[in-house]
């Protein structure tokens, strides 16, 4: 199913849509309140955007610098050209350590690479330890939001999932109690797993350290109790200097949840005594995106999800309607880079309202890129023939002013036809809306008589 079909299903339960919309709008409001406490907010966004631009313009040098420093620090650095190589590298490390179980904190990269499925096929048990990720993992679903993975679930449903999978009491719905149950359950996993995988928020070229930001402390509980720490990062996570963390840490949590900081900002530089620390640098289409001038800025993304929380479409269609690891506006400009045919619907899942670009802490021109992806997708033949024919017909009529100006006939006919131009059968406009009452005369008819 494509985005509109999934969105239609989501909208069959209007109360749930209202609940989902309000929950995420509240996060947008918290983001606004946090941002408005910093008069320098817009200057910070601009600086962050420029730092990231510098990174993209010098990415090879920074990666080489980072690798050298990380190696000096005792970290083993791996490079993966695509998702398969990434998954193989992680699997190899597990096999070398004779381990069949690991804990994993949030990493959208591993979602993008479908690491869990790959490892499970190879007999490895992966436990997601972020509470939201654990909930969706138990439910057998992908995350619907990159910061709040189970935001589409109601607390009663989470109680039911825990009851079913963890044997907890039936009928629980208090978030405090549910969180406590997950804490107890996952603590045992942390204490018994020898390998922990984490994502990476920032990697510092100057020092070879990498930074992981969480609220729950799950990345650290995993990493500091395991013999082997594997960190996986998209290659664009590099920033030049430690001091640049000042800019990004000020923006990240405020944009994401309205907090002044994540609870934990962990700087991993060297493995502790006796521990292995591996870092996997992944391309998986990023170098291609880097070469697309119109779209390379999407690689500036720091995964805060502010664009999702503000997006009026995301809030009313749910994260799963985007059928890709990263939902929402940013996902809609990232996904077509990986596969245009599969994700041709996503750049159209937007009104181009532009709110996403305004909240983006690194000033990615998201809505402009949605517009540009539409042009690329049409040029590459990824829209239906009927839509293309309709657009051609419309262009022909509108380009011929004599046809158009046959007042009151062709014009109004065309206009009434327009909303249905991409529809083969019933015009969807009329499902929940009326068209305007046609006036007696058009403006140009009135103008002829009166001026």
């Amino acid at each position: 199913m494509n985005h509109p079909q999934r969105a239609e299903v989501f909208n069959r339960d209007e109360d749930r849509v209202d609940w989902h919309d309000k929950t995420l709008w509240w996060v947008r409001q918290k983001r606004d309140m946090a941002a408005h406490k910093l008069p320098e907010w817009e200057a910070l966004r601009e600086a962050a955007s420029q730092i990231k631009h510098n990174v993209l313009s010098n990415l090879d040098e920074y990666l080489v610098q980072f690798e050298a420093h990380a190696q000096q620090n005792g970290v083993t650095v791996h490079w993966a050209a695509d998702a398969t190589e990434h998954n193989q590298i992680v699997h190899r490390i597990l096999v070398e350590n004779q381990v069949t179980q690991m804990v994993k904190s949030k990493s959208m990269l591993t979602e993008e690479c479908h690491l869990n499925e790959y490892l499970e096929r190879n007999g490895i048990e992966v436990i997601d330890t972020d509470l939201g990720e654990r909930v969706v993992q138990l439910a057998g679903e992908p995350p619907s939001h990159i910061v709040m993975p189970c935001i589409h679930k109601k607390k009663e449903e989470i109680g039911e999932i825990f009851h079913h999978h963890m044997g907890t009491e039936a009928g629980l719905s208090d978030p405090q109690i549910l969180t406590g149950l997950a804490r107890t359950d996952l603590r045992q996993r942390f204490l018994t797993r020898r390998v922990a995988l984490t994502g990476v928020n920032f990697a510092i070229a100057e020092t070879g350290e990498f930074v992981v930001c969480t609220n729950e402390g799950n990345a650290d509980m995993g990493a500091h109790l395991a013999d082997v720490h594997i960190a996986c990062m998209g290659m664009e996570k590099i920033i030049p200097k430690r001091e640049h963390l000042g800019v990004f840490t000020r923006l990240l949590a405020r944009s994401a949840t309205g907090q002044p900081s994540t609870t934990y900002t962990s700087h991993f530089k060297k493995p502790r005594n006796g521990q292995q620390m591996h870092l996997v640098i992944v391309d998986n289409g990023r170098t291609v995106q880097l070469g697309r001038e119109d779209f390379r800025n999407s690689l500036k993304c720091i995964r805060c999800a502010a664009c999702m929380n503000t997006c009026p479409v995301y809030r009313r269609s749910g994260g799963h309607s985007y059928h890709t690891a990263i939902a929402g506006p940013i996902g809609s400009i990232l996904a077509p880079n990986l596969n245009m045919a599969d994700y041709a619907d996503l750049p159209f899942a937007s009104t181009l309202c532009g709110s996403c670009s305004n909240v983006c802490p690194v000033k990615i021109d998201i809505h402009q890129q949605l517009y540009k992806w539409r042009q690329v997708l049409v040029q590459q033949g990824h829209v239906s023939a009927s839509k293309a024919a309709g657009m051609q017909a419309m262009s022909t009529v509108l380009s011929n002013r004599r046809v158009f100006a046959v007042a009151g006939s062709a014009g109004r006919t065309l206009m009434r036809w327009f909303p249905g131009i991409v529809s083969n059968s019933l015009n969807p406009w009329y499902k929940q809306r009326e068209m305007p009452e046609p006036p007696k005369e058009s403006f140009r008819e009135w103008y002829e008589k009166n001026r």
Partner: protein, 193 residues
């Protein structure tokens, strides 16, 4: 060609023309009354500040709040009320620690965070695995924002460095804030004048 060289070559082919790094914006927003701001913000994110005249105040707090629990610390002067020799245990053996009291380098007014590096943690797991966390911070060691924080860290070497801002928390279930996700359920900053 190795994946590494393939990736680097593709970047060289596809990267845009070099652009300069910008100046980092400065801020006066949190420059005044850093102690008050630190206290206010730490409180709003679920932490608490307890002002103490000296380490005796911390010891007193431990005695009254954790009389029958396992308490660990890196402060030798708290030896009467807490374990001080736990460096040779495995971090897993800290799973039953109720309260850990650690020293930190400095605090940050704008977000209520404190900066700690691994010698001060003894075990990297210690600030996370305890049920409740306490840290000791000098009132004179609070910087306004993260810009000053990183300026202060400079090029310091460490194996693991950490900003902690309040107790572990989650709002993954319907955006309801719950303190104590996987790490400490409470965070107390002992502020020493």
């Amino acid at each position: 060609m190795s994946p590494r060289d393939k990736i680097l070559q593709a970047i060289r082919q596809n990267k845009p023309a070099l652009t300069a790094l910008p100046a980092i914006p400065t801020s006066n927003t949190f420059a005044d009354q850093v102690v008050e701001r630190f206290t206010e913000i730490l409180t709003t994110i679920g932490g608490q500040v307890v002002s103490v005249p000296d380490m005796n105040g911390v010891a007193e707090y431990i005695r009254s709040h954790y009389p029958a629990h396992r308490v660990i610390t890196t402060f030798p002067e708290l030896a009467e009320v807490a374990e001080v020799h736990w460096e040779d245990t495995s971090p897993h053996e800290l799973a039953d620690v109720e309260f850990a009291v650690l020293n930190v380098h400095f605090g940050v007014a704008e977000n209520g965070a404190v900066w700690i590096t691994d010698p001060l943690m003894m075990h990297r797991a210690s600030p996370f695995i305890c049920q409740h966390l306490g840290v000791v911070l000098s009132a004179g060691q609070i910087v306004p924002t993260m810009h000053e924080a990183y300026a202060r860290i400079g090029s310091a070497d460490y194996g693991f460095g950490l900003f902690i801002a309040g107790p572990s928390k989650t709002a993954d279930i319907e955006q309801s804030l719950v303190l104590g996700a996987h790490g400490p359920k409470t965070m107390t900053v002992f502020l020493v004048d």
